[in-house]
Symmetry: C2
Subunit: 203 residues, 2 copies
DNA sequence: CCTTTTATGTAGTGATCGATACATAATTAG
DNA sequence: CTAATTATGTATCGATCACTACATAAAAGG
């Protein structure tokens, strides 16, 4: 019934997923505005016509690259927050450790560094990334709240401040990675951030 | 003797310091690559010829803008680290509080956000800013070391890790500010970072 | 006065940007 | 086979980029 019907027309000569991944690498290195179509087509091994036929436009390509980055590059950073059968502390620590692992390649996070300035060209992209970062902070706060309900975070904890603090550390890790900090140093920063937990969330 | 000799030639019609400050604002909003000469000349109220005559080129203008930003925009953030007659903890806290005060305008730090990606156009500028950020971390580490010599930081403290941690928070504050965090929230993040001190640097 | 010096305003430079028009190639449907 | 459909490669498009050539204006030195 639902057999994949033979595609009409001339078949594509390149692997769409593979070229998308290469585009993601370029966006990671150069950011949305800094990645020119020449950079992209060179890295992807196709020419502009094929890129536009397959992905629509630069902005659409970037959106797909962000989705790929968020969803497919290993264990998703924010998934650690969704784990309910551990303490909020363990969930936050897992999130930071996963980030340190992923960022320790000199590039940091695409959501954090993909567009750090609003320009005439990147308005929609900038807004999308900003919203994703805000959502990250919301997720951390919600996880702390859930921990409070579960009893591993004491009542009276300033959840908003603690969420803002760990978001700041998470985002700061991208800058440290971009500045060349080795994975070991990022890991040491996470150690410090977690040592801070008991001062912020008294047991 | 050293009386300022009358300047030769047609006098400049604009105030150099004033236009430099306006250029700095543009670079803060858009970054080095994102600030076009059109953006700059419009904000500065002069045309390209005058800009090039007075400042040389876009890169030289940016360098002057960074110097102005670092040296003249209120109490300098890193000056707080130079104070020797307080504890290392008080010095680091003063640095972070000054940063939270300065960043709480929706723009963050020019050194941190001025060029977040290396491109063909910004190579030298990117390198300079990266070095400045690295120097910040070195200054923090040196201040901790001095605190250890003075006795307010216990021997055995992992100074490198603590310096990396507070650098991460400092840089993360710029991203939080860019994402619209109000000054009060930045201040709360600093509160959290300083509550962490005793866990990192046991008294 | 005239010469020198510096700044200004106009009107560009070549390069690169993201995006496309168009002819051609390669496939399926009938 | 022909028609329809989709992809490819070339050769651009107009806009914008950082930057500058050039004529003119405004000052000082002589």
């Amino acid at each position: 019934m639902t057999a994949t019907a033979k595609e009409r027309g001339r078949p594509r000569k390149f692997d769409r997923d593979h070229t998308l991944r290469q585009a993601m690498e370029v966006f990671l290195d150069r950011g949305y505005d800094g990645a020119s179509l020449g950079d992209l087509t060179t890295a992807m091994g196709i020419n502009a016509s094929s890129l536009y036929a397959a992905f629509g436009c630069k902005e659409a390509l970037f959106r797909e690259a962000v989705d790929l980055y968020v969803n497919a590059a290993g264990p998703r950073t924010l998934d650690a927050l969704a784990v309910r059968d551990v303490s909020a502390r363990a969930a936050v620590e897992a999130m930071l450790r996963e980030a340190a692992r992923r960022f320790g390649n000199g590039r940091g996070c695409l959501v954090v560094l993909g567009a750090t300035h609003r320009t005439a060209d990147n308005e929609a992209v900038f807004h999308d990334l900003t919203e994703r970062r805000g959502q990250t902070q919301v997720l951390i706060r919600q996880r702390l709240k859930q921990g409070m309900a579960a009893g591993d975070v004491p009542t009276g904890t300033d959840i908003g401040a603690v969420a803002a603090f760990y978001t700041t550390v998470l985002h700061g890790l991208s800058l440290q990675a971009r500045d060349g900090a080795p994975r070991k140093q990022l890991s040491a920063v996470v150690d410090c951030a977690m040592k801070a937990w008991d001062g912020l969330v008294p047991a």
